[in-house]
């Protein structure tokens, strides 16, 4: 399936590898950030600090 | 000078591990020049262990300047600051806590990390940190970044240094500013304990700060001499 990559194969593989690395880096960063925010929120929730709007069902603001 | 139970103090001293048996801080004819003008001259007072001195005077009289001068943060224009007892090799500033208007807190660090840094910087044991936070009712906010604290909470965190690190002399610049009633009561209790333990307090203030038997030093109006 892989057509021969010719004399400059190194650069082609290099380019695809670099693209893959940067993409994976972004995906991992987003995923870790998500987990970190969830952990902090869970910790705050455990301390009983919940959003007042949840408690009183007030219309949602960005908080 | 009033002795408040020598035995009790010696036990407290031993318990606190101070080498100081009896500490006296004296100043005679102190003068300080700041910003090109002579802020005050001829200030003399003597404070012994277990005593508190309230420095009063109108704004700009030099109350804060006197405290910074005692802390070694300002050059002495004239006169002398003397102390006997305590650690002869250390200057007054190295044996004193100074709580000025600024709280010396980093917004990026958490409440606990801020206090932990100052404890480590002064070479004190880390065990005292949580007790100090609890003493100022800050234990619930230990992990909160200092940026989120209110002025009163920041003030209490600054005061928590007094508990976390043991130093005989407390130089407090309007300690009750920004504190609510409960915090002021807690501070008064801390000060009483400190005095009972043989410490000294010199506080610049406008009114009483809840410790009885404190003498007053008025500066600025006339060339104040301690009563």
């Amino acid at each position: 399936m892989m057509a021969s990559l010719g004399p400059h194969a190194g650069f082609i593989v290099g380019a695809y590898l670099a693209a893959l690395i940067v993409t994976l880096a972004v995906i991992v960063w987003v995923w870790l950030d998500y987990r970190r925010q969830r952990r902090i929120l869970a910790d705050l929730d455990a301390r009983g600090i919940t959003r007042r709007s949840l408690r009183q069902g007030v219309s949602e603001s960005l908080s | 000078m009033v002795h408040t139970g020598g035995a009790m103090r010696r036990r407290m001293d031993h318990m606190r591990g101070w080498r100081a048996q009896l500490m006296r801080l004296t100043s005679d004819n102190l003068a300080c020049r700041r910003g090109g003008r002579m802020v005050f001259t001829g200030v003399s007072f003597a404070v012994a262990a277990g005593e508190a001195l309230l420095v009063t005077g109108r704004n700009g009289a030099g109350k804060s300047t006197l405290l910074r001068l005692l802390a070694g943060l300002l050059p002495v224009a004239a006169g002398r600051v003397g102390w006997d007892g305590g650690a002869p090799d250390q200057s007054v500033g190295e044996q004193a806590h100074y709580v000025g208007h600024l709280d010396a807190l980093k917004p990026g660090l958490s409440v606990r990390d801020n206090l932990a840094f100052w404890t480590a910087w002064n070479g004190a044991q880390a065990e005292g940190i949580d007790a100090a936070l609890a003493a100022l009712a800050l234990d619930g906010l230990a992990d909160l970044p200092a940026a989120y604290l209110s002025a009163g909470q920041r003030r209490r965190l600054a005061l928590a240094r007094l508990v976390a690190v043991h130093r005989p002399i407390w130089l407090l610049d309007e300690p009750t500013a920004a504190l609510d009633v409960t915090a002021q009561a807690a501070l008064a209790q801390l000060m009483r304990d400190h005095l009972a333990g043989g410490g000294l307090i010199i506080a610049a203030t406008h009114g009483p700060i809840g410790i009885d038997g404190a003498r007053e030093l008025r500066i600025g109006a006339t060339i104040g001499a301690a009563a």
Partner: protein
């Protein structure tokens, strides 16, 4: 789902948690198809197999500019329509845009290496993408230094719009400064000049890239909303302790 529902963060979060998995799967499938097509596409008569780098380089170039457009629309949303989620969208898109611009730069440099004999030749097209990369870093730096989200939002929105206005100026001036890169072969007034057999995988990869961006952007926006909730809750924690 009326558009106004997007304005409500909680509804948006539930929307994200529903849509995100599908978007991710779609992106993976699109990449699989695109990559296989790219591998089977014939080589270019001049460059030989190195043309295969184009399938990474060109879509990421389109996307780097497309994401700035998304940020500009978000900036208008923040400044003009006061849409609460607009700034969240702008702030979430900036790092992703910088990442795709970086991919474009790296692949462009590697693609040019065989032809130019060196990794970086300051040719016009790559240089304007490089300036765009610097602009992305500027917006990210602004978000870093500003503490308070709503103030940062307005400032970043202004910077983004200034950037959007500046892009054509940069493009023109860099072109004038040096033109070495082959003329824009795909986006031409007329039909694209490259052979359809090369074009099909290119468009497929472009779709794959877009789906990847959409998934990452929604996930990053979710993170940003959670981050602001943490900030609000921490403020509440301080206030409740004080009272």
């Amino acid at each position: 789902m009326p558009i106004s529902d997007f304005a409500n963060p909680s509804k948006f979060l539930t929307l994200v948690s529903r849509v995100l998995p599908w978007l991710a799967v779609a992106a993976v499938i699109a990449f699989a198809i695109g990559l296989t097509q790219a591998m089977q596409a014939p080589d270019d008569y001049q460059q030989g197999a190195t043309v295969k780098i184009m399938y990474l380089h060109v879509p990421s170039a389109w996307l780097s500019m497309g994401i700035w457009a998304v940020m500009s629309i978000a900036a208008l949303g923040t400044l003009v329509w006061r849409h609460p989620l607009a700034d969240v969208a702008g702030k979430a898109a900036a790092p992703i845009g910088a990442a795709f611009t970086l991919i474009c730069l790296i692949t462009g440099s590697l693609w040019g290496r065989p032809m130019w004999g060196t990794y970086w030749v300051w040719d016009a097209r790559l240089t304007s993408v490089f300036v765009l990369f610097l602009m992305y870093l500027g917006v990210i730096a602004l978000y870093w230094t500003a503490e308070e989200p709503s103030r940062a939002a307005r400032l970043a929105a202004i910077l983004t719009l200034v950037g959007a206005i500046n892009l054509p100026v940069v493009k023109f001036s860099v072109d004038w400064w040096n033109t070495l890169h082959q003329p824009a072969s795909v986006i031409r007034m007329g039909a694209p000049t490259i052979d359809p057999s090369l074009l099909k995988p290119l468009l497929m990869m472009a779709v794959a890239y877009f789906l990847l961006f959409a998934a990452l952007h929604l996930a990053a926006m979710r993170n940003e909303i959670l981050r602001r909730r943490v900030r609000t809750l921490r403020l509440m924690q301080a206030n409740e302790a004080a009272s």
